[in-house]
């Protein structure tokens, strides 16, 4: 800091050296030890074990065979597609619904504080509890949803038992549970928009729709990218809700990578499931790194 007040431009190496100096190197050791014991060692150990046939007692090195086997899994392709669908559907809906709710909850309406907490409340409830509750509600013949529909003469579908529908039903529950968080992020983003813009827009005679489209939406892009990134990663590695509601079923219809991995682990194929985790890690990196770069670049243009 002091360097910048000095006359002339100090070279970069010097600045770095000055910035680093206040703390001696061994200050980092506690963090480094914790980080390596809890993160680095397991990461590299799992990279190794993903190359073995592992019984937890002994392991036999088999090269890349686990990866070949995992990618050969007939349900894996379905799981991959499902994972991406699930992540896209949940993060898309959370953006749309979250933004709309946030706009509503930042306007002058009755019971705003109460409504805000109602929207946020599902975020606090345990995911498994939510899953079990909705499984009961979505029962094809005795569930409250279909019984209510029956009152209006509509034959409700088998929300969780129809192979074509199960994944989307779980995604909807995920949105119900997670939209509160997106809303809170959006509320923070909306409140941060200076009122000047709206005043200027009003002077120019903007309609409420134009207000939303040309002022609110562009100016809350940081919130949008946060919501998309968070919910997309959350969607990619989702497991608890799917497992609580369908266990990947019926059959393999709502399997995601995480549930495929868990089933391999459950069956005692430890090496194979570790290989699956490596695949999941790579997939998340491949999808999320470009996505974040894209969202951040757009932000820079503002």
């Amino acid at each position: 800091m002091s360097a910048s007040t000095m006359a002339g431009t100090p070279n970069r190496a010097e600045t770095r050296a000055i910035k680093r100096s206040p703390y001696p190197g061994w200050f980092f050791t506690p963090a480094a030890i914790i980080y390596s014991v809890l993160f680095l060692v397991p990461t590299f150990a799992s990279l190794y074990f993903s190359l073995t046939r592992w019984t937890l007692f002994d392991s036999e090195f088999i090269g890349l065979e686990n990866f070949a086997q995992f990618l050969r899994e007939p349900f894996l392709i379905k799981g991959l597609v499902n994972t991406v669908i699930y992540a896209a559907v949940t993060s898309g809906l959370k953006v749309v619904v979250g933004l709309l709710l946030a706009v509503m909850l930042t306007s002058q309406i009755v019971g705003r504080g109460y409504l805000r907490s109602v929207i946020f409340f599902p975020v606090l409830v345990s995911t498994v509890g939510v899953g079990i509750t909705f499984t009961v509600l979505m029962h094809p013949t005795q569930g409250m949803i279909n019984e209510t529909l029956a009152l209006f003469g509509i034959a409700g579908p088998g929300w969780l038992t129809d192979p074509n529908l199960a994944l989307y039903s779980v995604a909807l529950v995920d949105v119900w549970k997670g939209v509160g968080l997106a809303t809170v992020i959006y509320i923070a983003g909306l409140v941060a928009i200076p009122q000047d813009y709206y005043e200027a827009a009003r002077i120019d005679g903007a309609t409420p729709w134009q207000n939303f489209w040309y002022v609110t939406l562009p100016l809350c892009r940081p919130a949008t990218s946060t919501v998309i990134t968070l919910s997309f990663i959350g969607g990619l590695r989702t497991f608890d809700l799917i497992w609580a509601m369908t266990k990947g079923g019926p059959g393999f219809a709502s399997d995601t990578i995480a549930s495929v991995i868990y089933k391999q682990y459950q069956a005692g194929f430890y090496g194979l499931s570790t290989a699956g985790n490596v695949v999941l890690f790579i997939l998340i990196a491949l999808l999320v790194v470009p996505l974040t770069m894209f969202l951040n670049r757009k932000q820079g243009h503002e």
Binding site: F57, L160, P163, A253
Partner: protein
């Protein structure tokens, strides 16, 4: 904390040993602490609790803790993980047969080969809890059959006969459907229940291909390429396509299925005979309304039952009190243990222990099963007792067949692919 506890248990174990040595020919009183892990089926819990109570009454210095674990795949996971991490209870119940082979018995379990109680245990049971020349288990329950429960009042009302061929079975189903009733109950909320049509068909597979199990283990026979073995998959597909299932088959649970077959909400429920105990528990007044027959094959002359060996109790290799654990297991596998079980949960099938007897008034579903086991009756063990190879995804694959999203041939091919992983994990030759 854990260390002191272990030491304490070790001390207790040592004192047990000491007492054993000082005690002479008289029935030695046991003392010490014993932890037990049992699956969460109401039958299993009730039985284990009754045994523990009786054992504690005989040995007042013994403390017993019973822990409960889930069944199915979740239970496999817990048992394997706890064994692998050395955190298993002293005594635990688990499957015999192929699942037993998958928990690495020679490393994880205490051999019980030379215990006196093994003299009374049937050889057919010992063979499914043996590995590397040692016997590791004692029967936890009576033997079972896999077949089809039927509702007697519906059969009487419609004047139906017990089917001895698959065609007769399908004709019965058609008549039941025409009468506006549910012909076949399926309960896919508990996915394991989807496997019965395939697993219970194994008597019929062996009738046509007597060496299927050996060839299957050696990677020489495949479900998809063996017409007799493929039949089980086809049978499920036929029943599903004919629309015989209950409306909520995708969301119904095993408990629902048990209730439905007992109360006559459905006519047939393919299931293992341990469900007799569950019926006695949930709908005791309807126990006499439920009968049982083997899953029919294609010929009436060769009609037999696919049998299941019961689960077993094992002793963990690293138990702190091996003698107490062995003594408790011996108690379970004694005629006295069988009597206690009869009292606690009723009779569900023939016992595997010499001197164990069924009470005179067994429910009809049990008496329907007994002839298959008796002299001249025809039965054959299920595949999982003849081969260590069982794929973990069979239940999901069969749910797909039952819901109509996959046909029998491709399901069998998919299952053949699934078992490869298990065979490789076990390190079998030829895979």
């Amino acid at each position: 904390m854990t260390k002191t506890k272990t030491k304490l248990i070790a001390l207790m174990g040592a004192s047990t040993l000491g007492m054993l040595m000082t005690a002479s020919a008289v029935q030695a009183q046991q003392s010490g602490y014993l932890s037990i892990l049992v699956d969460n089926g109401p039958q299993s819990i009730a039985t284990m609790e009754a045994w523990a109570e009786a054992y504690k009454a005989m040995n007042p210095d013994v403390t017993i803790d019973i822990e409960v674990r889930p069944g199915g795949g979740e239970g496999d996971n817990i048992v394997k993980t706890r064994l692998a991490t050395g955190a298993m209870a002293d005594v635990f119940s688990y499957n015999s047969g192929s699942l037993f082979q998958a928990i690495n018995p020679t490393q994880n379990l205490l051999p019980l080969t030379n215990e006196a109680f093994q003299d009374g245990v049937q050889d057919s049971f010992k063979s499914v809890v043996s590995a590397g020349g040692e016997v590791y288990g004692a029967p936890f329950a009576p033997a079972m059959g896999g077949g089809i429960f039927y509702n007697k009042p519906i059969y009487e009302e419609l004047g139906l006969e017990i089917p001895t061929t698959w065609d007769e079975f399908m004709a019965n189903n058609e008549a039941i459907k025409e009468a506006g009733k549910v012909a076949v109950i399926q309960t896919y909320a508990d996915t394991w229940t989807s496997q019965l049509f395939v697993l219970s068909d194994f008597y019929n597979v062996l009738a046509e291909e007597p060496d299927f199990a050996e060839k299957f283990t050696a990677n020489e026979a495949k479900f998809a390429a063996t017409p007799a073995a493929l039949r089980g998959f086809e049978k499920l597909q036929e029943v599903a396509e004919a629309g015989y299932f209950n409306a909520d088959f995708g969301a119904a649970t095993y408990a629902d299925g048990v209730r439905m077959i007992a109360m006559g909400e459905g006519a047939h429920y393919p299931m293992l005979t341990f469900a007799v105990g569950a019926i006695a528990e949930t709908a005791p007044d309807y126990l006499d309304d439920v009968g049982f027959f083997a899953q029919p094959g294609d010929s009436a002359e060769n009609n037999g039952l696919t049998t299941w060996m019961p689960d077993s109790v094992y002793v963990a290799a690293n138990t702190a009190s091996p003698d107490l654990a062995k003594d408790f297991v011996a108690f379970i596998a004694s005629p006295e243990g069988c009597d206690i079980r009869n009292e606690a949960v009723g009779a569900t099938g023939p016992y595997m222990v010499a001197g164990c007897e069924l009470p005179a008034d067994v429910p009809p579903s049990v008496s329907d099963m007994l002839p298959y086991f008796q002299e001249g009756g025809q039965n054959a063990p299920a595949l999982e007792f003849l081969s260590p190879v069982k794929g973990p995804a069979l239940e999901q694959i069969l749910v797909e067949v039952g819901t109509g999203s996959r046909d029998a041939a491709s399901a069998a091919a998919l299952y053949d692919e699934d078992v490869r992983k298990q065979a490789q994990q076990l390190g079998l030759e030829g895979w």
